[in-house]
């Protein structure tokens, strides 16, 4: 049997983490190919239902990543994202989702290596954890 390859949906902000992902790519850093990037203008516009929808529709984990605190292009979107992720973590773990399946990181535009590392580490963690709790159920 082939090794379990997780699917990770990553909501990344246009100004920081998307640029970092771009940098990691152009610098030819080695990254696990398990991540599906979704480019958002800001982590502050990642609606909780996007995350829930991803986890219910086959994603084994969700990564939300944006600018470092104080660096937000829109001043405070990442602080709002942090509260939403806190809220989601409380809700989802209560119903048996492992807390490692939802991750928020700060990755600046110049941190291509940091992005590659974050992705590789997360893929490794999720491989260890196994398929998402909701990926097998027939309910969306």
């Amino acid at each position: 049997m082939s090794e379990f390859e997780p699917t990770i949906v990553a909501f990344v902000c246009n100004w920081c983490t998307y640029t970092a992902a771009d940098l990691a790519g152009t610098a030819r850093m080695v990254q696990s190919p398990n991540v599906r990037l979704i480019r958002m203008m800001c982590t502050g516009m990642v609606d909780p239902k996007y995350v829930i929808k991803a986890l219910l529709s086959g994603a084994d984990a969700v990564l939300v990543s944006g600018c470092h605190p104080g660096d937000c292009h829109y001043i405070n979107g990442n602080y709002k994202a942090r509260r939403r992720i806190k809220l989601l973590t409380e809700i989802l773990t209560g119903f048996g989702f492992d807390e490692r399946r939802l991750k928020l990181t700060w990755v600046g535009a110049s941190e291509g290596n940091e992005f590659a590392e974050t992705v590789n580490k997360m893929v490794e963690d999720i491989k260890e954890l196994g398929p998402g709790e909701a990926t097998a159920i027939e309910v969306m």
């Binding site: 909780p48 409380e90 709790e133």
Partner: protein, 386 residues
């Protein structure tokens, strides 16, 4: 600061004493109308009404054990702008707490409004109330409210012998007295054979109470003790309910089983006083999927439950309203398939409100947790980095 007055109860008629008090309020020069539940002739239904004429107060009944609607949204509608006169709203504690949440969202206002809270022994759910009425020859009326309050005060309302118990939301409610009301109609700890208390807890309430020139009362510690004992009982019930619900929804599979009967009618959202969106995303085209999309989802797992997006709906609703949930239980009241949604939403709300050290409805000054942020907080969600 709280000062307390009393209203005399004659011939054991507590509802009449409350009506007497409402009549005095309506006679005040600054009060133009009273919003209160009242008994309707039709089928013994209890619904709120905005009353401006004193003779219409004869059917007012804030003590009825029927709770078909959380009136917070109605009062919000009445206070969104200029009302042409002062309004008194007589509400249950959970209705006031829901209204407080709506105030924070700029959907209601305290301007020109006197909130009158009623000590709440709870109510039947819709089905239970119908059954109680059937047992009483299809009417309860004002007399039914009197006997309910007397029995409840004596701790005699319980399920059994074909008689339904109170709504589970009420049995698990740890807020039988509103912390925000300007005036409170106090039943707990009163000698209901002779008096009920009227308690003022804000300057607005004090001002109005002093103009009414009622007889002073000294409730002593009997009232505090009665409330304390009731809250302790309800907290114990609540915690047992949380435990049971957490167990029943401990994994996504179990949660799917729990919600198996859901038909996506969204009644729980319509009945919810704090589901605040003007238009719910779940009724928009966002969830009007293309036929081929369903086929794709079905192929992935071999089968797809229809209607879809049921779990997404309930989890998203929790993400939206759980920090504002006041536990009134109208969601369960409105569910056509008897899914214990109140238990689910209250458990979710308990978890998220605890995470943000927030309590819905506690104070109009407290900002909703998702409307504010601190520079350094919740570093656990970002792996310890601020």
């Amino acid at each position: 600061m709280a000062s307390t007055a009393q209203i005399e109860v004659r011939d054991g008629n507590i509802v009449a004493a409350v009506q007497d008090f409402l009549g005095k309020l309506l006679a005040d020069q600054e009060i133009a109308g009273i919003f209160t539940p009242r008994q309707l002739e039709a089928k013994g239904t209890v619904m709120p009404a905005l009353i401006t004429s004193a003779d219409k107060l004869a059917t007012a009944d804030p003590l009825a054990p029927s709770f078909p609607l959380n009136s917070a949204r109605q009062v919000a509608q009445l206070t969104r702008g200029d009302l042409d006169g002062g309004l008194v709203a007589v509400m249950r504690p959970c209705e006031i707490r829901a209204f407080v949440e709506l105030i924070k969202l700029n959907q209601g206002s305290l301007h020109n409004l006197v909130l009158v809270g009623v000590d709440c022994y709870g109510a039947y759910d819709n089905q239970g109330y119908r059954r109680v009425m059937e047992n009483n020859g299809d009417s309860l009326g004002l007399e039914g409210s009197n006997s309910f309050i007397k029995k409840a005060a004596a701790g005699e309302i319980g399920a059994g012998n074909g008689v339904p118990g109170l709504a589970r939301a009420c049995l698990a409610c740890e807020h039988p007295v509103s912390p925000v009301a300007d005036l409170t109609i106090g039943l707990m700890g009163a000698d209901l054979g002779s008096q009920i208390f009227i308690e003022a807890s804000t300057p607005k309430g004090e001002g109005l109470l002093s103009r009414l020139e009622l007889k002073d009362a000294a409730p002593g510690d009997a009232r505090d003790k009665a409330i304390e004992a009731l809250v302790a009982k309800r907290k114990a019930y609540r915690d047992a309910m949380f435990e049971e619900t957490a167990e029943a929804t401990a994994t996504p599979e179990k949660l799917a089983d729990y919600l198996a009967g859901c038909i996506n009618c969204y009644n729980c959202r319509v009945a919810c006083p704090v589901c605040y969106c003007r238009e719910c995303v779940f009724v928009t085209d966002v969830f009007s999927h293309e036929p081929w999309q369903y086929m794709g989802w079905a192929r992935k797992k071999g089968a797809l439950r229809m209607p879809t997006d049921t779990m997404l709906y309930h989890l998203t609703r929790l993400a939206h309203m759980s920090t504002a949930c006041i536990g009134c239980g109208q969601c369960s009241n409105a569910c056509p398939n008897d899914i214990p949604v109140m238990e689910l939403f209250r458990l979710g709300a308990h978890r998220t409100q605890e995470a943000f050290e927030y309590e819905a409805g506690r104070s109009p000054e407290e900002a909703p947790p998702l409307s504010v942020f601190q520079e350094k907080e919740f570093s656990e969600v970002t792996g310890g980095l601020d």
